[in-house]
Symmetry: C2
Subunit: 421 residues, 2 copies
């Protein structure tokens, strides 16, 4: 079942990895609520925010991230113009830290301030994870847009929609893993394509919303949820984070527990090395650019949504998403090759994330850094790339082969730490 | 674009087939209402019903069809027990005719009596088509189940759910072709697999239902629609019928305009031969039987839902539905081969029914009987097979290669009729 990593000098090395495999393969994850971050996360305050990826200093933030911080300052009433917000940043009067440190993954900039609506999930064993609710396809905080419409929408989502969805969940738990499984049968890989899963989730929530919200509002909320084909990403990503953190909690060596980017650096966390980030410069690779844009316009990868690849979804399930592969400009054969290659560096094969087009073979789950080192195969993610200029939004998509160095470095660090004395 | 059939002796034969191709490829179809059949179809009365497939006499009806007639008699209050209903049938005091004659397609038995809830669609040019609303996966009229729960559910669907859905459609038209297109991107072939399209349809209807129905009822109706993974078949099948009838209205020769089975005979209608049915004995082929059943238990094919294959869906789009192919016990390569083979006997390639896994190649649309004759390739359909005993339901699934004789016979009839004098 699992092709376990064997550790030199470890008393029962196979058992450790089996436990990690079982956590990757078995953790159930349930939707708990959507609330404003201030109600859920002690780590956020009016000038204390979370961001995507490994740590980054205020001075080195790329355009979209800096703009997202400005947007958050305006959302919290700390600044009333973009210039005021910029001055606060320049004076160093705001603090930012990786959401990953407090169980939170964010899309693109991953900006979380107290008023940002956040999806809360809970895994087997009680571990919770969070992700800002996907705002939809219009200009949005995640890309560093900060106009009045962006702020107004965030407030409506946090103050109006979120409590109604949460109320609809009482006595009515929603199993996110089940929605992921059905999504894989409906051509989603739940990272860059979420059309079917988003519809299934909205439909799943609808009756509860109808029963608990005033009529006109219920209809409006259902329409809003239904209008967002990427809604589900803000549910699949924290589910992946909850699974990754569960594995991290086991301390099982060699297993990648987090991958994330902040637009400057890509960072990787690996079991057995604690909270250390192994990093490399972030890159955009060679995405397929939307009309009117060039690769040079793309900001290097940013965001935490590659949490999905960390647990066997996204590019690891690309063979199951022919519509996405075609959108990337790939043939089915290329998509299949991607998923197969990723199985070679995985801890094991999923018994629940299955791809019908491969006769229901499971996806590879859990990246084993030793296999990365042995094969020379670096993980691939499904990327969506933001314009370097804040607020423009997504301008390109495609497969991105991650830099291999962080994985090799983590593996070498474990070799050194675990070598017999 | 279209590989047109050329007719000897016809003044401008290519033009005729181009027109047929354009109708197959272009007809828009919109959802109009769900109503009880008595409100929509003059052809039905308390003892005058519609059935699936070509004409059949009361005496030769197979078990499930006879039981469905009995159920309809009980639903209409003409009989209060199955024995009373049987006596009415035996005395010949009920009349049945093919739904196809009045624009209606039905699932399995295809039984339509005045109280049966029926989906109404309308194509470009105003042509309407109808199909009994899919009752769900519990024992149902379409398989000849007739218990109190079946009758109660039909009444609830017709008297409670149907008017609420119809009300929700006012000023809010639903484009069924668009839902089919998105279904193909989500792994449905909209004949035997409708999971994603059913969810999309239910979600599409939900806000309108919330705005027009009392709260508790709205929630109940949305849950009911959401609970039926094959709901959409009762929308895709009449859409196919509307398209097929539009083509039939053009009189374009060689193009199959209807395929249907009544459990005894399979019948085919072909452009240029009017309303004539070319028939052959129906068969179950070699389906994959559900646990506990044998091929001998299966009733030969019955139902009008192969209307979907008639216009380029179902088996013609099997490559796009890996989950269904796997359920049939087929590999993706076999599914691909099926779709490719069907393109060889098609009038043309769809510009709107596209399969992402084939790099968005269109499905073959419209069966050309001359190509069937020339290649020796008989059409294939995706089949679901009923038990010979009424009410048991579906006991097997799989590809069914239709008997080639009706297609050859129609082609020969056209050759004779169109030969130069």
């Amino acid at each position: 079942m699992t092709d376990a990593t064997t550790l030199p000098g470890s008393p029962d090395p196979t058992a450790i990895s089996d436990e990690a495999y079982r956590a990757l393969d078995g953790a159930a994850v349930e939707l708990v609520s959507i609330r404003r971050a201030g109600e859920l996360l002690d780590a956020v305050g009016p000038r204390s925010f979370l961001h995507a990826g490994p740590p980054i200093d205020l001075e080195e933030m790329p355009g979209p991230l800096r703009a997202a911080v400005s947007c958050a300052l305006m959302l919290e009433g700390e600044a009333s113009t973009i210039e005021e917000a910029g001055a606060i940043i320049d004076r160093g009067e705001v603090t930012i830290r990786p959401g990953h440190d407090v169980g939170c993954v964010g899309l693109v900039a991953g900006m979380v301030s107290p008023s940002v609506p956040v999806v809360e999930v809970r895994a087997t064993g009680g571990r919770r994870a969070f992700c800002p609710l996907h705002e939809g396809m219009a200009p949005s905080l995640r890309y560093g847009a900060y106009g009045p419409a962006v702020l107004e929408r965030l407030r409506w989502l946090g103050e109006v929609l979120a409590p109604r969805v949460t109320a609809a969940l009482e006595d009515n738990p929603v199993d996110i893993v089940e929605l992921i499984q059905e999504g894989l049968r409906r051509g989603d890989e739940v990272h860059n394509r979420n059309n079917a899963s988003s519809a299934a989730l909205a439909l799943r929530l609808a009756p509860g919303i109808v029963r608990t919200a005033p009529t006109a509002l219920a209809a409006q909320i259902i329409e809003d949820l239904a209008s967002n084909p990427n809604l589900f990403l803000s549910f699949s990503a924290p589910t992946a984070k909850a699974i990754g953190d569960t594995v991290a909690g086991l301390g099982a060596p060699r297993v990648v527990t987090a991958m994330a980017a902040n637009g400057v650096r890509l960072g990787v966390r690996v079991g057995g090395t604690g909270d250390r980030w192994f990093t490399a410069p972030s890159t955009a690779g060679e995405p397929r650019m939307f009309e009117g844009f060039e690769v040079a316009d793309a900001n290097p990868a940013m965001g935490d949504s590659l949490a999905t690849e960390t647990v066997g979804l996204g590019a690891f399930a690309l063979s199951g998403s022919p519509a996405l592969a075609a959108f990337f400009g790939l043939t089915h054969a290329q998509a299949l090759e991607t998923s197969r290659e990723m199985r070679q560096i995985s801890v094991g094969i999923s018994s629940r994330f299955k791809v019908p087009i491969e006769s229901y073979e499971g996806t590879g789950i859990g990246i084993d850094v030793r296999k990365v080192a042995e094969t020379g195969i670096a993980p691939i993610i499904n990327g969506g790339f933001a314009h370097r200029t804040a607020g423009v939004g997504m301008i390109g998509v495609g497969l991105l082969r991650l830099p291999i160095e962080p994985f090799l470095e983590a593996n070498a660090a474990l070799d050194a730490a675990l070598a017999p004395a």
